[in-house]
């Protein structure tokens, strides 16, 4: 899923400073699963902002709603009746949400309430980790299901680099060296020779480097 972190209250306050009537829109997709932008978080943010503005003697009126998915116009369109009643709209979806909203409602002003960080999953309660960088040409089967593109700090295809120490990456003691894990798994499975070849330079055209991407499924466009 797409993982995000909520922006600090101060940053959000600063963004919405000029507005007096606000709609906060949550999303029931990924951001609900990673506990950052679902209906619960929408309510928490709404009351935090209301209290903060009251303290400043600059009250704000906030309404809330949470839609199925903000990355789908079918659901985005459901805000048609209400969205115009506000000075601005704060989206708690990943970066896709406020963009779909802005594209659909051109007259309205939208703000992102979260920082979208990565594609990943929860490794334990309350901890999410990155797993994929969306490079567009998946090769994890060559590395026994482990992605060095997203998970090595240098996206090395031939690791581990000289900074790998005790299973940790040179960048911090909180980051595992994924190449250490790849090698360990290859050794464990008796397939070390898989790594003993020089891979050609990766074709990054399918990644972000090739420009904004688009997926077309002909059978659905008809």
């Amino acid at each position: 899923m797409i993982v995000a972190d909520r922006k600090s209250l101060e940053e959000i306050q600063e963004m919405i400073k000029p507005h007096r009537k606000l709609l906060i829109v949550g999303c029931k997709g990924c951001v609900t699963v990673c506990n950052v932008g679902g209906s619960k978080e929408v309510e928490i943010l709404a009351s935090a902002l209301t209290i903060a503005r009251k303290k400043e003697n600059n009250e704000i009126e906030i309404d809330t709603t949470t839609i199925e998915r903000q990355c789908d116009n079918e659901y985005v369109s459901q805000l048609k009746e209400t969205v115009g009643n506000y000075d601005a709209v704060l989206s708690m979806a990943c970066g896709v949400g406020p963009q779909f909203l802005s594209e659909y409602y051109r007259e309205q002003k939208f703000y992102p309430a979260v920082n979208t960080t990565f594609f990943g999953g929860a490794v334990s309660h309350g901890i999410w980790e990155e797993r994929c960088a969306g490079c567009g040409t998946c090769i994890i089967h060559d590395f026994d299901g482990i992605c060095p593109i997203a998970r090595c700090a240098k996206s090395l295809l031939h690791g581990p680099c000289g900074g790998s120490s005790n299973g940790l990456c040179e960048i911090s003691k909180e980051t595992i060296c994924i190449w250490d894990a790849i090698v360990a798994k290859k050794i464990e499975q008796g397939r070390l020779e898989d790594l003993l070849k020089v891979r050609p330079a990766k074709d990054w055209r399918t990644a972000r480097d090739g420009g904004p991407r688009r997926s077309i499924r002909e059978e659905l466009t008809r």
Binding site: K154, G159, C161, I171, S172, I187
Partner: protein, 310 residues
């Protein structure tokens, strides 16, 4: 290893079977050419080639390409270092062509320390290709006279290609295979990370020799003399992939007051003596970091002077 690949002094020294002795030099943190040239006088005549570091530890400095060119002008032979952190394949290829055009004949291929170590941690890192692919890219340009996209090169750059090897990074058992991979990618010579744990290094070299890797590539052992126990302690604790045994730290601590630097040099000299005899070792790479003025004395005491003229 029959005919010369680049004709660099380093290549000729190694090919003639001499025990090579290379040095290292960091470009200035500015455009201070005088300061750079000042360092050269300690190295000139005392080493076969000098590594010119490339934004080492991700701290920005004068470009290694420009500094290498200044070095040639001053009559020394550079070993132009290139990291994959700061350039994509276009910039890498362009710089290799430029390097050859400027008379550079040795190049060392590195991934590069992560930018979080340096003075621009906010930077975007590139890593379009990694060090293994860089070795392959530059040897393809030399041997096939082609870019990695298959297009022909009009006057191909001929460089003697080096790579780094850190036998002390983890997992230890994989290190010799990674070295083998670099050699398969085309590395002509290897310079190792600074060695302090001699026992571990002997084990590593035994694996290297058992696999016959020393016959396919020249291996230069990395030596950095410790200035004092504090430096040893720091390297042991804070430099990832660095293995400094406690026994060395204790030895430095145990030296008489004001004699720790001398003890560090003594240890380096003992290492060099052992490397001269060690099977599979073709030379020493002396990295006297910000200690260039000690190079003449170390070279003299190590008995590697005068350097061969080939």
């Amino acid at each position: 290893m029959s005919e010369l690949k680049s004709g660099s002094n380093l290549e000729k020294v190694l090919k003639a079977g001499h025990f090579a002795f290379t040095g290292e030099c960091g470009p200035p943190k500015g455009a201070n050419v005088e300061h750079l040239v000042g360092k050269f006088k300690h190295l000139k005549g005392n080493v076969d080639a000098v590594n010119m570091t490339d934004n080492q530890t991700a701290v920005v400095r004068m470009s290694s390409l420009a500094a290498s060119h200044i070095m040639i002008h001053e009559g020394l032979e550079p070993n132009f270092q290139m990291v994959c952190r700061d350039r994509n394949r276009l910039a890498i290829t362009a710089d290799i062509l430029g390097a050859h055009a400027l008379g550079i004949r040795n190049m060392l291929c590195l991934s590069g320390d992560h930018q979080s170590f340096g003075n621009h941690p906010q930077a975007k890192n590139v890593h379009d290709i990694d060090s293994m692919q860089l070795i392959n890219l530059v040897t393809t340009m030399r041997d096939k006279e082609e870019f990695i996209n298959g297009e022909k090169i009009d006057v191909a750059p001929k460089l003697f290609v080096g790579a780094a090897c850190n036998p002390f990074a983890d997992p230890f058992e994989y290190r010799v295979y990674r070295l083998a991979n670099k050699i398969a990618a085309g590395a002509d010579f290897i310079q190792t990370q600074c060695i302090y744990n001699m026992e571990k290094f002997r084990t590593f070299m035994k694996q290297v020799v058992d696999m016959g890797l020393h016959e396919k590539c020249y291996i230069l052992a990395g030596v950095t003399p410790m200035k004092n126990a504090r430096m040893a302690n720091f390297m042991s604790k804070f430099v990832p992939g660095m293995d400094v045994p406690d026994s060395l730290i204790d030895r430095l601590k145990g030296a008489e007051k004001g004699k720790q630097a001398e003890e560090g040099i003594k240890f380096a000299l003992e290492q060099i003596e052992e490397f001269k005899e060690m099977e599979g070792i073709a030379g020493v790479h002396l990295m006297a970091i910000e200690w260039e003025h000690m190079v003449p004395e170390i070279a003299e005491r190590a008995g590697v002077l005068p350097r061969p003229v080939v």
